[in-house]
Symmetry: C2
């Protein structure tokens, strides 16, 4: 596979990035992905600062390849997180859920590459104006937190790559090499893959949750809690409780009260499939096995190469 703007930017072999995901992507998954030739990302969103430091240090021991840290900028201890990232010589940071102007320059001043996650053309333009090195453009079908415009990956990628010049990493709905090639034909320089890596041996997600991802079929996820922050969830008991509450026209505070604390940890990390919040993408309907991360990367690259051949002599 030849190099492109994203493989050059990150010094990686394949334009394939494993998404930073709370309660799923610690040092084990990130290092396994990076060792396989993709870019692994540690998801800081579910880690206390010193836990993050431990994950970064373990990741450095487990791989000599580049890896990244994902930082949701609404994180309460954000200054401490940024400090640790700089102290530990992390080379690449993916920021999300916040204003890219706040930290981009500071991180770049410390020779850190900065990528910002967006869900619309408008936010893509703002991220480019803020000076980030690349954006992740994430469509409506993606798991977890999501944009308000509900723009799908198939429509977002051509519109955002037309509007901005920096590299674009497509995300949302991508779990195999066909979708990787498809989104790159639409103009993306690389892909970010979340859901597929949740169903991996190295994800720190609870096995109950991984099995639920494998079981999921088309139509089993939905975007909800739009009044708070839109999030795509598996339709379990907790999801149904939200829908029941909606029928009573809840206030925002009542929604917040139902959500409560630590629902995501309860579901995805502790494996409570009834009361927990299970964040996953639509493409879970296509996933039928739990695999080592290296096999996920290898499969996707092989499928990508085969899809290229099929495209070449497509009828």
């Amino acid at each position: 596979m030849q190099t492109n703007r994203i493989t050059d930017l990150f010094s990686i072999k394949y334009p394939l990035i494993q998404a930073g995901m709370i309660w799923a992507s610690g040092w084990k998954l990130a290092s396994a992905t990076s060792n396989a030739g993709g870019l692994g990302i540690i998801g800081a969103g579910s880690m206390y600062p010193e836990i993050l430091r431990e994950h970064i240090q373990k990741c450095k021991k487990a791989t000599t390849k580049p890896f990244a840290v994902n930082v949701p900028m609404l994180y309460p201890d954000i200054e401490k997180i940024i400090e640790i990232i700089i102290e530990e010589d992390v080379e690449i940071v993916f920021t999300s859920a916040g204003n890219p102007k706040t930290w981009t320059k500071h991180l770049q001043d410390h020779n850190i590459k900065v990528v910002h996650v967006v869900s619309s053309v408008k936010f893509g333009q703002k991220a480019q104006d803020a000076g980030v090195d690349a954006v992740v453009a994430e469509g409506f079908e993606a798991g977890g937190h999501n944009g308000r415009d509900e723009t799908t990956t198939l429509t977002l990628i051509p519109m955002i790559t037309k509007a901005i010049d920096i590299p674009v990493i497509a995300a949302g709905g991508i779990a195999n090499g066909n979708a990787m090639l498809a989104t790159m034909i639409l103009g993306a320089d690389a892909v970010q893959v979340g859901t597929r890596f949740v169903a991996s041996h190295e994800a720190s997600s609870h096995l109950n949750f991984k099995k639920e991802v494998v079981k999921a079929k088309e139509g089993d996820t939905q975007l909800t809690l739009k009044e708070l922050a839109p999030v795509r969830l598996l339709k379990n008991k907790f999801f149904n409780d939200i829908q029941t509450l909606y029928k009573q026209t809840p206030t925002k505070d009542e929604l917040i009260a139902l959500l409560g604390r630590a629902r995501a940890k309860k579901g995805m990390f502790e494996g409570d499939l009834e009361e927990g919040e299970l964040e996953i993408g639509q493409i879970s309907g296509l996933i039928s096995d739990i695999l080592p991360a290296s096999e996920i990367v290898d499969n996707m690259i092989n499928e990508f190469e085969e899809a290229k051949k099929r495209a070449c002599d497509l009828k």
Copy 2:
């Protein structure tokens, strides 16, 4: 371009189908698309039976190539519509919004090819069981009426092509040759294109509406009225009125009362951009000109061929 299952089924040159759309696709658009090598479709949903007969007869005079008629099966005068289709020797029928079992065999007994429009894997399987010749699999980003599962084209196509064996035509979010190739890499045999053909010279849509489609940007459409039948609309005054009503927790009857009668005709055919219902897809954000249908077909096929070349030596 070589033949495939869909070009063989319809005896057309390109696996490119112009969607049957109310107040947009009459005989002019359908015959222009068919003459250009695609498959044109007359949208019967907004036509009285004898008007449909007139459109079919004019279409036959305007092209010697195959064309189709789209029939929403909830149409009140459905028996009359089916009778006219058979009397006028229409060769291909696309059915939507109803049970594919009801009319498929009757139409096929009259040597008519039947394609059913679905928005989920489950309905795709039901359509296959009903014996249809192919399905259109339409994603969440599509304009107009839409499915309840909100599955996007990028995720629907690989899941449905894995689940059923008959040919699959991808729809939703496809307005250029890149998206055509992308969805075919995902497994589709052909594409159906709606929004792009609304902004054509031959569409019977009001010029005001066509210009609004050209002006639309990413984020300017939204799926709404989910309690009645989910429909993707441009965000105009009428759309905002719906959102305002939603804040008051309306009953279904109150929503029906607001919708009223002939809103779609008022907006899309009569050009009332404030009070009318403007059905269009997310990909309107990518469209920047009103073109002859033949140019839309030529452009898409040229882009498709170029995208194939790019895919072959993709970095």
